[in-house]
Subunit: 209 residues, 2 copies
Amino acid sequence: MKFYDCSTAPSPRRVRIFLAEKELNVPVVQVDLRNGEQLTETFRRINPQCEVPVLELDDGTIITETIAICRYLEDIHPLPPLLGVTAREKALIAMWDHKIEVEGFLAIAEAFRNRTAGFQERALAGPENYDQIPELVERGQRRAQRFFRTLDDQLAKNLYVAGDNFSMADISAFIAVDFSAWIKASPLIDHLHIKRWYETVAARPSLKA
Amino acid sequence: MKFYDCSTAPSPRRVRIFLAEKELNVPVVQVDLRNGEQLTETFRRINPQCEVPVLELDDGTIITETIAICRYLEDIHPLPPLLGVTAREKALIAMWDHKIEVEGFLAIAEAFRNRTAGFQERALAGPENYDQIPELVERGQRRAQRFFRTLDDQLAKNLYVAGDNFSMADISAFIAVDFSAWIKASPLIDHLHIKRWYETVAARPSLKA
């Protein structure tokens, strides 16, 4: 296997932590997103969508999308389980991971990429250029705030994001919290339940990955 | 179990077809999205995100997000498998389903909701109102076209979206194609591989669900 990573980007960090929790070592190829390496012809042949993370299997199969990569890793190395054990638990982890991605990550990215000078024609990740749209900065901020209220409500009632056990949903939510610092919208001051949970998760050695 | 559905909306249709493929009957509650039933206090108690599909388990557990609901159904009724059998196949189905959702559904919804009169303050689904942003109509169209080129390339090399077997990825992609008619961007004229595949999938009895 080969893991296409970028040490400064939020999504591949989810895979790095997932690998660390499983104590797996996979050869890493760094992709320099800041200098546009994802847009080169060489990388487009690996992932035409011009994004990391990517997992390349030994038979050449390319797996993109964080959740799909983690699902593959969970299947080949089931322990410790990070995607759930019972049907109910698996569903709740899948649900939260998806909510975190769509309601959290996409919102933060919207606020970030539409206002940051270095992303003037790169308001969306991917193979095509899109101009910034100033109204999306505020929209992304509002969506991110809404997401963190949802997350805080959930953590008021649960030890971890998807229930009693640490899971992929915690990895994703933790990185969404860190990513929110990029838009100066960290929930760690106003949301006490997120703060309590964040400190617990931050203490895990895997979070340094 | 109880399934909160809306017969006119694209996402719950994915669950209906999934249930039909498994020959499962689950009691259905229709939620009238056109008249804003998803925004009522009653429905917010079921799903604060104000969206369908929702699956309610007998113990009261609420599962939202199409992929999480289908994952639960696959776990409790594994046959026929719609989320894959081998680790590789499961990963590719998860990957394509996620791509279809983010690159396909979200793009089409962006073009549709930002231009349609009935959605003036409802440019995003969910609990909060967001004004339409005219620039997003063209952006959504461009993203949708890009997605259909990706899908056509994939179907040029594969019988079904994620490989040799019919799966959840076909259900999602089929409904993305149907949804694209709402923005007059159907790929069925220009994309011959999509057309060939669409006709095969359309012949399945489950597609009438």
